[in-house]
Symmetry: C2
Subunit: 247 residues, 2 copies
């Protein structure tokens, strides 16, 4: 089965792909690796499929593009190859127990342009893990933001998406993060004490979260020390068996 | 007042900043321009404040960063200068009728890292226009995605955010887009006929949109031919007077 790691630049997609892959291999599974990032310089894993064989951001910048334009253009040029790429990933899925897919450095290249939507749509029931870092979680509304963002990703990609707090090793009080991410009543109550504007929108959105969200649990991992990797594997197992219900 | 144009790379932020600025000047207003994109090569307007004076993606790539790392790092290095930058924008607001702020090329640099959140939080009631392109709107759930994304932005930035379909000049059937973006009952009904997964999440989310969303209207513009610019100005006027209610 194919497992996608998504998230913004700096959320730890590449590190997680490499470290979780080693973990799976240690558990006796065969693992395939796919790199979809046209802008990455060095990878900490050996990619079986690598989009940089077709195009790199660096090449496009040599053609005269600025960095943003080059990133967008690289995925435009990959679009005609989406079915070919999906076919290759499908073949790799046939040969290995798990295929880990490391997505574009800038998440929006994957989520807002057609490349990612078409690629995921061409695969058989892939599972998506949405990684985010504790450093963006300051105010109560930030927790609501990442919970909703996982739903938005699920809607856009049409694939089950599990929110994952990464970099657990950098966090002092884990319970603080667990409470805000797992207990929607607690979060909603805390939003009442925040200053208006953003918090008001968050309050309304969050109150609806239990109703609109499928019962998906939040995972807590550290790609650096491997904490929580067994939970990712559990979720992948459950997904393969139950196909959808990740309570 | 400060007006922010946000959106993914390629949604037309820079073109809109320049063209809407010229429109405002033509209407007799004085306009200030701010560039927050560390990666842009050439600007079609003269920036009064430009983050490239402090740091550019190109410089960081020369230091050895890859394009993604350089983008992230550039905003990390700008963070200690956020209050200084907000102060300068505030001063410019005092001198001009409108200050147009062109945000980072990659939207996530603005929305997911602290730079954008802190900057917007340091300004007095700025208004945000979230630009998106018709080419990402293919399936009914894509319309729900952009409507919710505007809410997510409002929640994260704590500033009123108005969704704007740009590139109207490239669209054949405008009514098709209007119907899907403005009539939530129509959109929800259409989602019922879509294949499950993504559409199911979208259906649940969309059904709640009228309840969770403040009454914000969607704008339709073309930065290329100036269509819809008077509507942006109307919304800005109303916002300045009513502060919040943009029905």
């Amino acid at each position: 089965m194919a497992i996608f790691f998504t998230g913004t630049a700096g959320s730890g997609k590449t590190t997680t792909t490499a470290a979780f892959g080693r973990y799976l291999e240690g558990e006796g599974y065969t693992v395939g690796y796919v790199n979809l990032d046209t802008g990455v310089k060095r990878l900490p894993y050996r990619a079986d499929i690598d989009v940089r064989e077709f195009i790199t951001v660096e090449d496009l910048m040599k053609e005269g593009y600025g960095p943003n334009g080059a990133i967008v253009e690289s995925y435009e040029r990959l679009r005609p190859r989406v079915s070919e790429l999906a076919g290759k990933i499908g073949e790799l899925e046939g040969e290995r127990d798990y295929v880990l897919v490391d997505t574009p450095g800038q998440m929006e290249s994957f989520l807002f342009h057609e490349f990612g939507v078409e690629l995921v749509g061409n695969l058989h029931e892939p599972l998506v893990f949405y990684l985010f870092s504790p450093e963006i979680l300051k105010r109560p509304q930030d927790f609501c933001f990442v919970r909703f963002f996982a739903l938005m990703m699920e809607m856009r990609l049409g694939a089950t998406t599990v929110p994952v707090l990464n970099k657990l090793d950098t966090v002092g009080d884990i319970e603080h993060y667990r409470r805000f991410l797992e207990d929607m009543n607690y979060l909603t109550a805390r939003l009442k004490f925040e200053p208006p504007m953003g918090a008001y929108t968050a309050y309304r959105l969050c109150s609806f979260l239990p109703e609109v969200s499928a019962p998906v649990r939040v995972l807590f991992i550290s790609a650096r020390n491997g904490e929580g990797f067994e939970e990712i594997l559990d979720v992948a197992h459950e997904y393969r068996c139950a196909c959808g219900d990740l309570t």
